[in-house]
């Protein structure tokens, strides 16, 4: 059975290593914070200007001055640091943030990503997405494998306007885990109950099944 959003987040959380600085995008990526493995300490970065993002505040303790990049009220933690938006993207560009997790509309088998604009629809802007995908040293995409009509979102090339080139390192979809390699997508795990045949059928981009492919374990 394909993963739900929480399961996608939970699987991505397994990629976190102790001591990582991590930027979590809006949507499924935000949920990753709920599944950080025990004993793994990570520091969450919010690109509007915070290292050490804490949980939502208790009711009544919200502070309009303390929000994350999704404009949600949040808190700090002991050891947090605040800074301006130039330093925030500066540390990402300089490779100091170990991992960025974000959503996508499309990913190509060379790592290109499209996630900011649909021609013909109102364009809201790229926000920090173009900076993050261009500059982050390790990018995992959390996404649905297909659109509502069943069309693959893992493609030979993006059909939507590009957000960044050759930047995605790994995709965790509702169907499995895919490394992005010089040979395209390599399926290294499949969701419990999902077949390799289904993954093949629903992946339009170049796809290889890893020799040691295995069922995902939570």
């Amino acid at each position: 059975m394909p993963l739900n959003k929480e399961q996608i987040a939970k699987r991505i959380a397994q990629e976190l290593e102790d001591g990582f600085y991590v930027n979590l995008g809006i949507g499924i990526p935000t949920l990753v914070a709920n599944y950080i493995p025990k004993g793994v300490n990570v520091v969450l970065q919010s690109e509007n200007g915070l290292l050490g993002m804490g949980p939502f505040p208790f009711e009544g303790e919200e502070d309009a001055d303390m929000i994350n990049a999704g404009k949600q009220t949040i808190t700090t933690l002991p050891g947090s640091a605040l800074f301006d938006s130039a330093m925030s993207f500066g540390m990402i560009r300089a490779g100091k943030v170990d991992l960025t997790v974000l959503g996508a509309m499309e990913v190509a088998d060379n790592g290109d990503i499209a996630n900011w604009k649909i021609p013909g629809k109102m364009v809201k802007g790229m926000g920090g997405a173009m900076d993050l995908v261009a500059a982050a040293k390790n990018i995992i995409v959390a996404m649905q494998h297909t659109d509502k009509a069943g069309n693959s979102k893992l493609l030979p090339q993006c059909s939507l306007p590009i957000t960044g080139l050759k930047c995605v390192k790994k995709v965790v979809s509702d169907l499995g885990v895919f490394d992005v390699t010089p040979n395209g997508f390599v399926c290294i795990e499949y969701a419990p109950g999902v077949t390799i045949e289904e993954i093949k059928a629903k992946t339009a981009g170049m796809l290889t099944i890893a020799d040691d492919v295995k069922e995902m374990v939570f």
């Binding site: 301006d84 938006s85 790229m126 306007p161």
Partner: protein, 233 residues
Amino acid sequence: MNKVVANAEEAIKDIESGATLMLGGFGLCGIPENCITAIVKKGINNLTCISNNAGVDDFGIGLMLQTKQVKKMISSYVGENAEFERQLLSGELEVELIPQGTLATRCMASGYGMPAVYLLAGVGTEVANGKETRNFNGKDYLMEYAFDADFAIVKAWKGDTMGNLIFKDTARNFNPLMAMAGKITIAEVEELVQPGDLDPNFIHTPGVYVHRIFQGVNYEKRIEQRTTRKPQA
């Protein structure tokens, strides 16, 4: 060296129609509420506004959109604003979208006297159109120009009469960067203090960058996404 003006009306009194303004803030966080109100009241128009976002329908820069004072928005993200969308689709409003980190860094470049910097964001995308691309150490970068404005309007937590500013929490965001990038920089503060009241070790914006300062009033500080958790049992 006293840079204090009485209020927002006085601070913005020489801003004329057609001016280019930078407005600090991220979403509704850390926005110069008093100056926005005064600009709406003054009724100037044809403004070019550089701000990361465009407010919501009834708050922030959204108020200036309601009164059709804005000719062009330069932002990274402009969602959550129906009037904005209407004006954009009808062609009344121009929009230029810039990646968030590029917007921030171009303001900083201005404050540091660097005419251009090389940044990664947007390589290979439509943002790169017309821009010089250059390879350093095997990676392509876009040349981005420093960004200034006739007036930079920022909101700080505290400031002293010499223009030194400190910001609180994530309300810092673009404010200190834009404060460096204004030909004239106007700062509204929640608390105006005397020289010596702020620790010189912890000034975010040195007064040299600030031309006018005043104590703001009636801050609403609206929250866009109120997210909370329940107390644990």
